[in-house]
C-alpha cells in the first residue's frame, strides 16, 4: 500500500539546534502512527513542518504520491492534513458551531449556523464525538474542547489528523474516550498521527511507531514487532528506572494546615468551597482533579496570590492567611508554579537574577538595598551544579533554557532556599523522561529529609507514584481521601464527580 503522506529526508534547523535531521516519516490511511520521543526530540517540529507552520531546510513531502510544498496550515488543510495542538486554538467567547465555522465558507456567504450544526452532527455522530454545538467554548471541559478541535478538522475533510500530546490534560476516562474516537477514525479509513511521550498510549492504540531522538529517527516499526522496553531504550538511549521511588517516611513535626478555606475565582464564583487539610513534614500529599475544579485558586490562595474569603491557613501554627507572599516565603513556604515562564522565572532575566527573586530583600544578597551580584552568581552556580541544569553559564537568560532545565532550576532554587513547605503544581508537565525523573527524585528526597509537599497535578501516574496520601478535588471541594494502595479507577471516578 502506498502511504498517504511520505516525508523524505526532512531537515529543519533552528539557531544552534538541528531539530530534524533527514527524517523519513510515513502515514498510511487506516492506521494510527505514534510519534514517540522525549521533549525536544523534534516530534512537534516534524509535524509542524507537515502542517505548514515551519518550512523545512531540506527534504520533500509527498501527498498521495505527488510532491507538494506546504507553506501554511491552510494549504495543509486543503491537502487533507489537520492538526490538533497541545494548546487549543479555539475562541472561548464563540459557540462551538461558530468556532467550527471560522473561515469555512466564502466570505461573501451568509452565516448559516443550522447548516454548520448539521455538518457537525454529520462528522461527529458515528465517532462518538458528542458536543453541544450551541455551547460557548469557555463553558466546556478540556476534553470537550479537544473534541471541538477534532470536529473542526473533520468538517474540513481531513484524511490525516495529527494530535500533539492529546491526553496531557485529560482524565483517564476522557483519554479512553479519545482513544475510542481515534480507533473509529482509523476504521473509517483515516490516518492518525499521535505525538506522545507516554508509553502506554503507544501500546494501547498505535499500529506503527516511530521514535525520534535528538532529531533523528532511531526506530520505526509496527507495534507488534517491538517490546515496551525496546521503545523506552530507543527513546532515551539508556536504561531508566521506571516505577515509584521508595514510599513512606515518618511524618514529622510542623505542618501546613488549611481550615475551611473559601476562595473566589476570576468571575466571582466560589472556586474553593470550604477546603480543609493538613500536610505534615515528611509527607507528600497529592491533589488530584480535572483541571478547573479549584486547584488553581486553592494554590493561589495558599501562596497569597489570591485573597481567601474565609478560612485559615497556618504554617507551623503561624497564621499566614492574610500575609504578604514575602511573609509566607520567610515562613518557609515555596511554590513551584505551573506556568514556568510566566510565574516561576522572568524569562528575560539571567539565571542568577532569577535565583534571588525571592531573596533579593535579604542578607546576603541585598545589603542596604544594594544587590550583591557575586553572591547571586554563587547561588545560581550552586543550583546549576547540584541539580544538573544544562546551561552554558549562569548569565544566560532563563527563557533560553529548555523547559526541563528551567524546571530543574526552579525546583533547585526552592531547595537551596531551605524551604520546608513546598507546593508543586504540575511539576513535570511537558518534561521529558529524564527531567521528570530528576524533578520527582528531588521532591522525594525533600520529603525524606522532612519537607512537606503539596502536589497538585493533572498527571495521575505522577500522583500515584509520589503521594503518601491523596485527595480528590471536585467543584471546589475535597470529595475523598485515598491512601495507598491507590485504586486508580476509584480515583478516576471521584475526579469525574461520582462516588460522593
Amino acid at each position: 500500500m502506498e502511504p498517504y503522506i511520505r516525508m523524505v529526508g526532512i531537515t529543519k534547523k533552528f539557531p544552534g539546534v538541528v531539530a530534524n535531521d533527514s527524517v523519513n516519516f510515513e502515514v498510511y490511511k487506516g492506521e494510527i502512527h505514534a510519534l514517540l520521543g522525549e521533549n525536544g526530540a523534534g516530534k512537534t517540529t516534524l509535524m509542524r513542518v507537515l502542517y505548514g507552520l515551519y518550512r523545512p531546510d531540506a527534504g520533500k513531502i509527498y501527498v498521495n504520491g505527488n510532491e507538494v510544498k506546504i507553506g501554511s496550515p491552510t494549504e495543509a488543510l486543503r491537502l487533507g492534513i489537520g492538526m490538533v495542538h497541545q494548546h487549543f486554538s479555539l475562541i472561548p467567547y464563540f459557540t462551538v458551531a461558530e468556532n467550527v465555522a471560522i473561515g469555512l465558507g466564502s466570505w461573501r456567504n451568509g452565516l448559516e449556523i443550522e447548516k454548520i450544526k448539521a455538518m457537525i452532527k454529520d462528522v461527529s455522530e458515528d465517532l462518538g464525538l458528542y458536543v453541544n454545538p450551541d455551547a460557548y467554548v469557555h463553558q466546556l471541559s478540556v476534553g470537550e474542547r479537544q473534541r471541538v478541535e477534532i470536529i473542526k478538522m473533520l468538517v474540513r475533510g481531513v484524511n490525516v489528523l495529527i494530535l500533539d500530546e492529546p491526553t496531557s490534560a485529560l482524565t483517564p476516562q476522557e483519554s479512553q474516550q479519545l482513544f475510542n474516537v481515534l480507533k473509529r477514525m482509523k476504521d473509517g479509513g483515516r490516518g492518525v498521527v499521535l505525538i506522545t511521550h507516554k508509553m502506554y498510549e503507544v501500546m494501547e492504540v498505535a499500529d506503527r511507531v516511530t521514535v525520534l531522538r535528538r532529531g533523528r529517527v532511531v526506530l520505526n516499526a509496527l507495534k507488534g514487532e517491538i517490546s515496551e522496553k525496546a521503545l523506552v531504550e530507543a527513546m532515551v538511549g539508556k536504561e531508566v528506572i521506571l516505577g515509584s521511588p521508595e514510599k513512606r517516611s515518618v511524618p514529622q513535626k510542623g505542618a501546613l494546615s488549611v481550615e475551611g478555606l473559601v476562595v473566589k475565582g476570576d468571575r466571582g464564583e466560589v472556586a474553593v468551597n470550604g477546603i480543609s487539610f493538613v500536610v505534615r513534614g515528611g509527607e507528600i500529599v497529592g491533589i488530584a482533579g480535572v483541571a478547573g475544579n479549584g486547584q488553581r485558586e486553592l494554590v493561589e490562595a495558599i501562596f497569597g496570590m489570591r485573597k481567601a474569603v474565609s478560612g485559615k491557613i497556618t504554617v507551623d501554627g503561624v497564621d499566614i492567611t492574610n500575609k504578604d507572599i514575602r511573609d509566607r516565603v520567610s515562613a518557609g513556604l515555596e511554590l513551584i508554579p505551573e506556568d514556568r515562564l510566566g510565574t516561576a522565572v522572568i524569562p528575560k532575566l539571567s539565571l542568577f537574577q532569577n535565583a534571588i527573586l525571592h531573596e533579593r530583600w535579604w542578607d546576603p544578597y541585598s545589603k542596604m538595598g544594594v544587590l550583591s551580584i557575586s553572591k547571586a552568581r554563587d547561588l545560581a552556580k550552586r543550583i546549576i551544579n547540584s541539580f544538573g541544569v544544562a546551561t552554558p553559564n549562569e548569565q544566560v537568560q532563563a527563557g533560553s533554557l529548555s523547559g526541563g532545565n528551567i524546571q530543574k532550576f526552579v525546583v533547585g532554587r526552592s531547595m537551596a532556599r531551605g524551604a520546608r513547605y513546598l507546593i508543586a503544581v504540575n511539576p513535570t508537565a511537558g518534561l521529558d523522561v529524564a527531567a521528570t525523573d530528576s524533578v520527582r527524585k528531588t521532591l522525594v528526597e525533600f520529603r525524606n529529609s522532612g519537607g512537606a509537599v503539596l502536589l497538585v497535578s493533572e498527571d495521575l501516574d505522577e500522583l500515584l507514584s509520589l503521594s503518601d496520601r491523596l485527595y480528590v478535588i471536585y467543584r471546589g471541594k475535597l470529595v475523598k481521601e485515598f491512601l495507598p494502595q491507590f485504586d486508580r479507577l476509584a480515583i478516576g471516578e471521584a475526579m469525574m464527580g461520582g462516588q460522593q
Binding site: L53, S72, P73, T74, L77, S89, L90, I91, P92, Y93, F94, E98, A101, I102, G103, L104, G105, S106, W107, R108, N109, G110, L111, K152
Partner: protein
C-alpha cells in the same frame, strides 16, 4: 421658557447631536471587532470636518464634501493601519499621534485657506429630509421624520453592520481575527486583510462624522470643534459591547446629554457654561464605571499579530 418647551427643544436637538458620535462609534466598532483600537478618531474627525468644509466652500456640493471627507478619513486611518498592522506598532501610540496630527493639521489647513476673518466663513448646512405627512405629526413627526439625511444613513449602517458582523461568514471571520488572529489565520482567514479593511472603514466613518459637524450641522469650521467627541465614540464602543445596536443606543443617549447641556447652558446664562459642557464627559466616565469589566472585549484588541 416652560418645562415642555425645554423638553421639546432638547428632544429635537438629540439626534442631530448624536449623529457625529454615532457614525464615528459605528466605524470604531468594526475597527475594534477586528482587534485594532483606533484612538485617532478625534483627529480623523477633525480632518473630515475641515476637508468637507473646504470642498463645500469652494465647490458647493455637500455630497462631494461628504465623500471627500470619508476618503480623507480613510487615507488618514491608513497611516494607523500601516503602523499597527504591517509594522506591528503600538496602537495606542499610533492612534494618539493621529489625533494630534489631525488636531493641528485641520487648524493649519483652515488658517491657510481662510486666515483670520472677523466674520468666519460659512457654508449652508444640508438641512433635513422632510417626509411628507409624517413630519406634521406633533413632536415625533419632527423628531423621527424630519431629520438630517445622515440620521437615516446612520440607522441603515447600524442595521447593515449588525447583519454583516453577526449573520455573515465575513463577520464571523472578522470577529475571529479580533479574538485570536492566529486561530483565524490557520483557518484560512487573513488577519492582515480583515484588519486593514476594518481600520479603513473606521477611518471613512470618522471622516463622515467630521463632515457632518461642518457641512451637516453648523455650516462652519472652528479649531478643535470635536472637543473630545472622538474619544466619547471610542468609549461608546465599550458601552455598546461591540454590538452596533447597543452602540447606537449609547450614541443617542449621548446625543440627549449633549442636547440637554446645550439647552440648559442657553437658559442659565448666569451659570458658567463650562459647568454644562462638562456633562458629556462626566457621562462618559459614569458609563465606563458602570460597564466596567462586565463586557467581554475582543481578546486580541490592541495586540499586534506577529506571524511565527
Amino acid at each position: 421658557m416652560n418645562i415642555s418647551g425645554i423638553a421639546i427643544a432638547v428632544v429635537l436637538a438629540t439626534f442631530p447631536s448624536a449623529i457625529p458620535i454615532w457614525l464615528a462609534a459605528l466605524g470604531e466598532t468594526v475597527d475594534q471587532a477586528s482587534g485594532v483600537l483606533d484612538l485617532g478618531v478625534e483627529g480623523i474627525m477633525l480632518m473630515g470636518a475641515i476637508a468637507a468644509f473646504v470642498v463645500d466652500y469652494f465647490y458647493h456640493s455637500a455630497l462631494i464634501a461628504f465623500i471627500v471627507a470619508g476618503l480623507v478619513g480613510l487615507a488618514f486611518s491608513a497611516v494607523h493601519a500601516f503602523i499597527s498592522i504591517t509594522l506591528n506598532g503600538d496602537q495606542v501610540v499610533s492612534g494618539t499621534a493621529l489625533w494630534f496630527i489631525g488636531w493641528g493639521l485641520s487648524g493649519v489647513i483652515y488658517a491657510a485657506y481662510f486666515g483670520l476673518a472677523i466674520t468666519p466663513p460659512s457654508v449652508p448646512t444640508i438641512g433635513s429630509i422632510n417626509i411628507p405627512v409624517l413630519t406634521s405629526l406633533p413632536i415625533v413627526g419632527k423628531v423621527l421624520f424630519g431629520e438630517s439625511p445622515l440620521f437615516y444613513i446612520s440607522i441603515l449602517i447600524t442595521i447593515a453592520l449588525w447583519s454583516i458582523m453577526f449573520r455573515t461568514q465575513f463577520g464571523l471571520n472578522l470577529r475571529s481575527v479580533g479574538e485570536n488572529p492566529l486561530v483565524a489565520e490557520v483557518m484560512g482567514v487573513s488577519p492582515v486583510i480583515y484588519r486593514y479593511v476594518s481600520v479603513l472603514f473606521g477611518g471613512f466613518m470618522a471622516g463622515l462624522a467630521g463632515a457632518y459637524l461642518t457641512v451637516g450641522l453648523t455650516g462652519s469650521f472652528y479649531f478643535d470643534m470635536t472637543a473630545g467627541m472622538g474619544f466619547i465614540a471610542v468609549a461608546l464602543v465599550y458601552f455598546g459591547k461591540w454590538n452596533p445596536w447597543r452602540v447606537s443606543v449609547g450614541a443617542v443617549i449621548f446625543g440627549l446629554v449633549y442636547a440637554l447641556s446645550a439647552e440648559l447652558e442657553s437658559i442659565y446664562t448666569s451659570v458658567p457654561y463650562q459647568f454644562f459642557s462638562m456633562w458629556p464627559y462626566i457621562a462618559t466616565l459614569l458609563i465606563i464605571l458602570a460597564v466596567g469589566k462586565s463586557a467581554h472585549a475582543p481578546d486580541a484588541l490592541t495586540m499586534p499579530y506577529v506571524r511565527e
